[in-house]
């Protein structure tokens, strides 16, 4: 069954706006109010203890030192506020991997769709990163799988590596663990599962 589409809702979200106070931040705060969000403006530094579900940042005057994480390492969706389209500034903004942007000066619209796009892209990106991390880990554990196949051939007198691998897969499925974890268990001197 497919989940019905839900109207994206940002009620209760905290937005941090890393931008000099002025018409841009006023327009943002006005739109946050209509969306049931709380906005906090910070410039040039983010005060200690700040927390937010989304960060808007100034692409015109911003610099790496303002962010408590290295470029590309933000733990929440980022929305770039772009005034100057000078390639150098756009390039710098890109190093922080914003998922959406808004052009300055801000009108009465734009924040809602930017939030929808940025939060959607951020969630998709997080899922992708998790999948890549899991694949990387499995890749790095390939030697153990190979060793476990050899160990099974030796221990159980299996003749081919294909049959030994199939045996390893069945063991993994029966214990509902990954092939890599099952291989690690097999190779442990006492042959017991890791706690």
């Amino acid at each position: 069954m497919t989940r019905p589409f839900r109207t994206p809702n940002f009620r209760g979200w905290r937005a941090l706006v890393l931008h000099k106070p002025g018409p841009v931040t006023e327009a943002l705060l006005r739109q946050f109010g209509r969306l049931g969000m709380q906005g906090q403006v910070a410039w040039p530094d983010i005060p200690a203890g700040s927390a937010a579900e989304v960060l808007f940042f100034d692409a015109d005057l911003g610099h790496d030192g303002q962010f408590p994480w290295p470029p590309g390492g933000a733990p929440m969706p980022l929305i770039a506020l772009i005034g100057s389209e000078a390639p150098g500034r756009v390039e710098w903004a890109l190093t922080h991997c914003p998922q959406a942007h808004l052009l300055k000066p801000l009108g009465s619209a734009g924040v809602y769709s930017a939030l929808v796009i940025a939060s959607h892209a951020h969630a998709a990106q997080s899922r992708l990163e998790q999948a890549v991390a899991s694949l990387r880990s499995r890749l790095s554990r390939r030697p153990a799988v190979l060793q476990a196949v050899l160990e099974l051939m030796r221990r159980e007198g299996i003749e081919t590596s294909e049959a030994a691998y199939a045996r390893l897969r069945r063991l993994a499925m029966a214990s509902q663990r990954s092939i890599e974890d099952t291989a690690d268990d097999l190779l442990r001197p006492d042959g017991r599962r890791r706690a």
């Binding site: 109207t7 809702n9 969306l35 049931g36 579900e53 929440m76 009465s108």
Partner: protein, 389 residues
Amino acid sequence: MIEPVPLTILFSTSGPYAALGREALDGALMALAEVNSSDRHHFTLVPEICDPAGQTESYAPLLDRSLRRSGARHAVGGITSWSRKEMIPTIERHQALLWYGCPYEGFEANDRVVYLGACPNQHIVPLLAYALPRHGARGGLVGSNYIWGWETNRIGRELLADHGGQAAVERYLPLGDTDVQRLIDEIAAKRPDFILNTLIGPSSYAFFAAYARLAAADPAFAPARRPVLSCNLTECELPEIGPAAFGHLSTAPYFDSLPGADNAAFRQRIAARFGPERKGSAFFLGAWLGVHLLAEAMREAGTDDPDAVLRVVTSRRFPTPLGPLAIDHRTNHAILRPHLARVAEGGRFEIIESAARPIPPDPYLAEYAAQAPAAATPRGQRSNLRVVR
């Protein structure tokens, strides 16, 4: 000295939804006559009336020419959301103010627009809150093929899902299209519990006529069993639809049959101007409110400067046929009390339920999701993210 103040009035009084445009124009002109004949005001409103004939691409150029030529800083107009969205860039460029008086699908809050019609939490949400428990949650969604139909039905679909139901039928007709037979055939086959109708103009009239024929052939489609629910069906269209509308439901912040002295006086003024048979409607009132509130705010501000007018109009209540009316300063939307009415024989609306009090506008439905059952409000995206420890 009486100062002339130009005002652009822009309604499609010809074309596919001309009946609605003429109704709104009548409302605007009645308010204008009242303002100009009253000695409360130190100005007289000089209208420039434009007819875009329902052609979406004509709205922006006509508005631009009128604002330039007359120097007007205010426009009252627009029926469809298409036309409103077409006009907004021009309104912004001129730093003018648009007074928009129709129900619409929400997800907009422009600083240069005053929204006097109902938004979704004031129309479809209370309408379905009434209908779903009584008729069931397998709805049929029919609409005109543009943003009003799409978005209102999308909200409808979500409300159905929140009640464990779904859309049994969902179909759209091009604006002005009256070929409804396929739609009716599908409804006859799938038998939804009710119909949510966001068709406009002749498409809607044709649909009511065909649905009445279906009900005559199969009593399971009688209005009492499977009603047609509308958020934009008003008095001005009932004569077009005739008996086919009887028994069906509509929601609006204004019906001609609303009780109370404020509305009684309003109806008397309508009768005096247009004759005793003429009824008011939400479209008539929306345009009337636009001109009336503009004049009241100008009188108090002492200028037609849009920012000054907007400050006044969002800062207090104004006596209106709806009772004291306030405009929410956060969204520029009217705080409205939705009523639900049934079309009675003779072609008038019989009010069957009213909200206990006026409902603050929530154009982005932020509050609705917050109040919905927990299962219906996934907040999965939200996490507690610390920026700086």
